[in-house]
């Protein structure tokens, strides 16, 4: 992916493999993840639970447990994250990346006040005087749509709704002025109406600050709507990467196409909801060949024996022996 305005990418995940001990034996939970995010761009990492998308994101922040073995590399502005020592990693987390977690009720300390949570990143990790920190987070709270900041800061997490708490989490992430924001399914724990508001807040903040975003989701449509590029993961491997705008027409991997086909249609309510046969695999269950081979309608013998490597087509990549390539714009009916 070569975009003219970017020389070196802000984040470059290159052939990442993660082994974690499960029941005592090391198991490969992520086989091969490749993700590149240029400065200021948004990339969505899409996959089902168990696909390894959250582990990949945690690896970017060095948040994997000490028992994890990491191969390949994660480079932030050219610097290897797995290669950082504890002190450098702490400084990196305090200033350059921030994460918005899925469930704000579990991820914000329930026994401390909202104000404590908001300023903590600045006061303890960056030694900003607390008066200054309070002033700063008050401004950001207004920006994310929490006008009565003074009152909210005195409250405890259990006194706030889920949507409000997620805004608090976003405000806390923005307060440290990171260059990269990681959002791990930030709307999954919320109800539908607040989901849209939260996504809009993230989008506005990103635009205002030129922030890069790694957006983790299981929702392909949402991914395409909020990001520049979409990366699809299946059973511990990134299987496809392409520009978000071309997702519908140009998706080349059978898994991506099957996911797109299984969305309910707004226009044809009578249409039967399609699903992908079989069940999703976790990274450590992936067979030797293509992980999707058991569920793929185009499977051939080579798919079962040989794992496909990501290969480029245009400015996109797909890891498939028989990628769907558009013969002509008219005949898009393949599946």
């Amino acid at each position: 992916m070569t975009e003219p305005q970017n020389a070196s990418p802000l984040l470059h995940i290159d052939g990442l493999r993660i082994d974690l001990p499960l029941d005592g034996a090391p198991r490969t939970v992520v086989h091969r993840a490749d993700v590149t995010i240029p400065e200021g761009r948004a990339v969505a990492l899409v996959g089902e639970s168990g696909s390894g998308k959250s582990l990949t994101a945690r690896c970017v922040m060095g948040l994997l447990p000490g028992s994890a073995r990491i191969h390949g590399d994660v480079r932030f502005a050219g610097e290897s994250v797995p290669g950082m020592n504890a002190e450098r990693l702490r400084a990196f987390r305090a200033a350059e990346v921030a994460m918005v977690f899925q469930d704000p009720r579990a991820h914000i300390n329930p026994a401390r006040s909202i104000g404590d949570f908001l300023i903590e990143g600045l006061t303890t990790a960056r030694r900003v005087p607390s008066g200054e920190a309070v002033k700063k987070v008050t401004g950001i709270l207004r920006e994310v749509g929490i006008p009565d900041a003074d009152r909210r800061m005195r409250q405890r997490p259990h006194e706030l709704s889920g949507g409000l708490l997620q805004r608090v989490m976003i405000a806390a992430a923005l307060a440290v002025e990171p260059r990269l924001l990681l959002a791990d399914e930030p709307t999954t724990a919320l109800d539908v109406t607040t989901q849209e508001e939260v996504m809009a807040i993230i989008g506005e903040a990103r635009e205002a600050r030129g922030l890069a975003l790694l957006f983790i989701t299981h929702d392909l449509e949402l991914a395409a709507a909020v990001s520049d590029r979409v990366v699809v993961m299946y059973a511990g491997s990134t299987v496809e990467e392409l520009p978000a705008a071309r997702l519908r027409a140009h998706a080349a991997h059978p898994y991506t196409r099957a996911l797109l086909a299984s969305r309910p249609s707004v226009f044809d309510e009578a249409a039967e909801l399609r699903s992908i046969p079989g069940r999703p695999l976790s990274g450590f269950e992936a067979p030797e060949g293509c992980a999707f081979s058991d569920r793929c309608t185009h499977v051939q013998d080579v798919c079962r024996s040989e794992r496909p490597q990501p290969s480029p087509h245009g400015d996109a990549f797909a890891a498939c022996h028989f990628p769907y390539v558009l013969a002509s714009e008219e005949t898009a009916d393949h599946a």
């Binding site: 702490r90 990196f92 300390n109 303890t124 960056r126 405890r156």
Partner: protein
């Protein structure tokens, strides 16, 4: 902490004391024989004149509730009646011995709080072998009852190591402390184990919690993460179990006092019970109940102040 939570807890305190006092007073009528005979102190042939005197003093011929109310209101005014066995006012008997029990329980409480919380916290934070060793030792400590520990300590220090006195209560501060060491250890040990286990589990749980991951993801120094998030959030469970532990110390203090001959309210109660001195048994029992309930309520209030969710949850159950 809401005013409602506070009033609910205090109301429950009063209710518990009332119900227990009713049981303690009523027990006198449930025991076989004439309450007046019990109050005399179990002598075989009490003088009928003395019995009549007791009947009127204790309002035994009044209806049950009137007699109970008379006893309770006197108790609340600090008048615990007369011990016919000791030929002294019960208030005086208790006043003479309360200090010994307070000192013993306070000593043991310090051991439980400091020892239990320290062992549990270190075990959870270090993990590995330290944790395995601490878990095994504290599980063992939990299993040893006070009277067994008392016998073991007496044997060890009386026969093998002359470091601490094994009998009596001592004079002056340092001597008293030395005399109270073994009883306090015997009393505290199983509670140290208990508090250490609960502390370890609580700290472990917080270390794995999502909000701790958040704090780490923000580059908060590990020291601060441990203090502000792990220990702060685990402290609710730590205080709760310590409170139960300290209240439990009061209940078992009698065993240690009796075994080491340190004297105190527990020893007084055992002695009074064996001499069937009902007035003393009643007064000491009710004092123990009140102290027990007050400590438990205090712990609840502290827990609620530390973690406001507790007040929100418990206040809602009505």
């Amino acid at each position: 902490m809401s005013l409602r939570f506070l009033s609910v807890r205090l109301g429950m305190l009063v209710l518990t004391v009332l119900v227990s006092s009713l049981a303690i007073y009523g027990a006198m009528f449930l025991t076989p024989g004439d309450p007046a005979t019990l109050l005399v102190g179990g002598s075989r042939n009490p003088d009928p004149a003395v019995l009549a005197q007791i009947r009127s003093d204790y309002h035994l011929d009044d209806p049950f509730l009137a007699g109970y109310w008379h006893w309770l209101s006197n108790f609340l005014q600090g008048d615990f009646g007369q011990s016919l066995v000791y030929r002294d006012s019960v208030t005086g008997l208790i006043g003479d011995r309360a200090g010994d029990t307070v000192a013993l329980v306070a000593y043991a409480a310090v051991l439980v709080l400091a020892g239990g919380m320290l062992i549990g916290t270190v075990a959870a934070l270090r993990g590995g072998r330290t944790e395995a060793l601490a878990t095994t030792l504290t599980a063992g400590a939990m299993a040893v009852p006070t009277f067994v520990m008392a016998v073991l300590l007496i044997w060890l220090f009386a026969v093998r190591l002359p470091w601490f006195p094994v009998y009596g209560s001592g004079e002056g501060f340092t001597d008293t402390l030395a005399h109270l060491t073994l009883p306090a250890v015997a009393l505290a040990l199983s509670w140290i184990g208990y508090v250490a286990q609960v502390t370890r589990t609580a700290v472990r749980g917080e270390l794995r919690s999502e909000h701790v991951e958040t704090a780490r993801s923000r580059g908060v120094p590990e020291r601060v993460v441990i203090r502000r998030h792990v220990l702060h959030n685990a402290s609710g469970a730590m205080f709760a179990v310590s409170g139960v532990g300290i209240a439990g110390l009061i209940a078992t203090a009698a065993v240690a006092e009796q075994a080491f001959g340190t004297g105190g309210l527990g020893a007084l109660m055992i002695e009074a019970a064996s001499k069937q001195d009902m007035a003393v048994v009643q007064a000491v029992s009710l004092i123990f109940v009140i102290v027990f309930v007050v400590i438990n309520t205090g712990v609840d209030l502290i827990s609620a102040a530390v973690d406001p969710r507790i007040a929100a949850q418990k206040g809602a159950i009505r």
